[in-house]
């Protein structure tokens, strides 16, 4: 590991971003499901 590693804050942004992206996908899929539920 030659370069210094980014700090915790840097990764926290990634993790939250990833979780939000997951939530957005679930919501999109729920919306599509709802669209075709009679």
């Amino acid at each position: 590991m030659s370069q210094p590693e980014p700090d915790k804050k840097y990764w926290r942004k990634w993790y939250w971003g990833l979780m939000l992206f997951l939530l957005a996908q679930i919501l999109l899929y729920a919306w599509i499901t709802n669209l075709y539920q009679s």
């Binding site: 590991m1 590693e5 990634w14 993790y15 990833l18 997951l22 996908q25 679930i26 669209l35």
Partner: protein, 562 residues
């Protein structure tokens, strides 16, 4: 298959194998052979992680699954992003700090050599056979539809993988996986284009989605708490989390991929890439399957897709003809209904189409039951054949070769990852630890590692060649994997999160957990209890954690009393 398909197929595979072997020809020491000299950037790691997980059966089965049951399977991957975050935060820094070759080495540092060897042994048990199935499962489908020799197909995949895995080690595996993944993605985009191209001129993508939705194929999210329902949002989020934690965090075939990273940051980025792309990628593959379903509303599908596996000598065609004739009539009428311009606005038309859909599916079942009555060896599950049948029927010459290269690339990339991991674990966790002589050196260890890769490769090919003899071997191997995964994850979770628990407690707990899972499995085989093997992961992990804590506190109490 035309000549151009053969050229594309062997050209693509040959180039990738040659590239992997050439680029890594200077591998001189064990570090570079097992960890690729820590040279991989984040993108190579990310693609390599995805390529290891995506086996050929992913690309054959997933569209077939969507064709039959719709898009719900995507929920299975919902636990994956959170698993990536947990591994990035807790697992990765420790593996990096200790500079381990295998995940199990860490367990010796945290507990003792017994726990390490026990866990490494469980890994070898579950992965050793699985490598053979990674070769066999696509080979049986390819050989049926293309009328190739099954044994030769298995040998071809196995030998190609051995060539570059033995010569170039971990780095060759990662480098070739990068290109295999590129071939896979390009091939799947072409497939998607040609599925849409097979629709009638007045049906476009959005009308296709609409028809699929009205025929019940766009039910993606299932919020019910029904345990018998395999894919719900809950089983995906919770069951998936445990499964992917054990697969990505403790299975050496994945750990080895990200341990080859340039830095901790590169490895984390690789995992993040997998967390971002995995669900959309699975969604896309499922969508291809649903679009194939739409295409077969207009183009007549065969009544079963694995017609080639039916032994005609055993079959009395007269018993099957009336069912086929009815099937054709029902399909023709449904096609007529769906071709009406007002179909999307007229609920009555759609309702009738749905009834026809149900009838068609019943006729398929009746046909299969009739075939089984005459030929008991016939495999009723034909979903795995649907996608390849479509490719062979609707794709132009040249692209069929490319799609076959996709299947081969996927089979080779996951087999390579497995062989590489099996050899590393045997070398590091067993050979170097127990059998190596004190005067051993890097050169000798490298040689041993190479021979072990050859050995595991030959074993995988032998399993693939004999797999047809064992009934339901694929399921057996899947179950075998689930039987050990939970215990392995349990040991790792205790190691990371329960610092007070010592080695004796965790070893006893792991043995108890393993015996319990084997007992539960036995009980469900003889129908005493009803339990899907998908739940073994959570049960074993939780049992290992709780039992080890209980044993630890009991022994502490006894010690203080003394």
């Amino acid at each position: 298959m035309s000549a151009i398909d053969w050229v594309v197929l062997f050209g693509t595979l040959g180039l990738i194998v040659a590239y992997g072997s050439w680029k890594t020809r200077k591998n001189k020491n064990l570090e570079s052979y097992l960890k690729g000299n820590n040279a991989e950037n984040w993108m190579t790691i990310g693609l390599s992680i995805m390529a290891t997980q995506a086996s050929a059966i992913t690309f054959l089965s997933t569209p077939g699954q969507a064709y039959e049951s719709g898009m719900g399977f995507v929920q299975f991957y919902f636990g994956l992003p959170l698993a990536m975050v947990i591994i990035s935060t807790f697992f990765l820094p420790i593996y990096y700090r200790l500079k381990v070759y295998t995940a199990y080495q860490y367990l010796e540092d945290r507990f003792d050599s017994k726990v390490r060897s026990f866990t490494a042994f469980l890994f070898l048990m579950s992965r050793g056979l699985a490598a053979g199935i990674t070769i066999y499962a696509p080979a049986i489908i390819l050989s049926t539809l293309l009328e190739w020799n099954l044994q030769l197909t298995c040998l071809l995949i196995g030998l190609l993988v051995i060539i570059y895995t033995v010569s170039g080690g971990s780095r060759a595996v990662s480098l070739t996986q990068k290109w295999q993944m590129a071939v896979i993605m390009v091939g799947m985009f072409f497939a998607f284009y040609y599925v849409l191209d097979s629709f009638p001129t007045d049906v476009d993508f959005s009308k296709g989605v609409d028809i699929a939705g009205q025929l019940g194929k766009m039910n993606i999210i299932d919020t019910s708490f029904d345990v018998s329902n395999r894919y719900t949002i809950w089983s995906g989020l919770f069951g998936g989390l445990f499964l992917f934690l054990s697969y990505f965090g403790t299975d050496q075939s994945q750990v080895q991929r990200y341990l080859g990273g340039k830095s901790l940051k590169a490895s984390r980025m690789g995992l993040m890439m997998n967390g971002i792309l995995k669900i959309p990628m699975q969604f896309f593959i499922l969508l291809i399957g649903v679009m194939v379903f739409v295409s077969f509303q207009y183009n007549k599908p065969p009544i079963v897709f694995n017609q080639g596996t039916i032994i005609s000598a055993k079959i009395d065609q007269k018993r099957l003809e009336p069912i086929s004739a009815k099937y054709d009539i029902v399909h023709g009428y449904k096609r007529y209904l769906l071709s009406q311009p007002s179909v999307n606005e007229d609920p009555k038309l759609m309702q009738t189409a749905n009834i026809m859909q149900g009838l068609q599916s019943d006729l398929r079942d009746t046909y299969k039951a009739e075939v089984v009555a005459m030929d008991p060896d016939y495999e009723k599950k034909d979903a795995d054949y649907i996608f390849l049948h479509f490719v062979l029927t609707f794709l132009p010459a040249g692209l069929i070769g490319l799609l076959l290269a996709v299947i081969f690339s996927a089979a080779m990339s996951s087999t390579a990852g497995e062989l590489n991991a099996l050899a590393s674990t045997t070398t590091i966790d067993f050979y170097r630890k127990y059998w190596a002589r004190p005067d051993t050196n890097e050169k000798k260890d490298l040689k041993i590692s190479r021979w072990l890769t050859v050995g595991w490769g030959i074993l995988a090919i032998l399993v693939a060649l004999t797999a047809g003899l064992v009934e339901n071997l694929i399921e057996l191997v899947n179950i075998l994997g689930s039987l050990f995964y939970g215990t392995i994850l349990g040991v790792f979770l205790v190691a990371f999160f329960f610092k007070r628990v010592g080695s004796t407690s965790v070893l006893i707990a792991a043995i108890i957990g393993q015996v319990l899972i084997l007992t539960l499995h036995l009980l469900s085989v003889i129908d005493v209890i009803e339990l899907s093997y998908l739940h073994y992961n959570i049960i074993a992990s939780v049992v290992v954690i709780l039992t080890s804590m209980l044993i630890e506190s009991l022994t502490n109490q006894i010690k203080t009393q003394e």
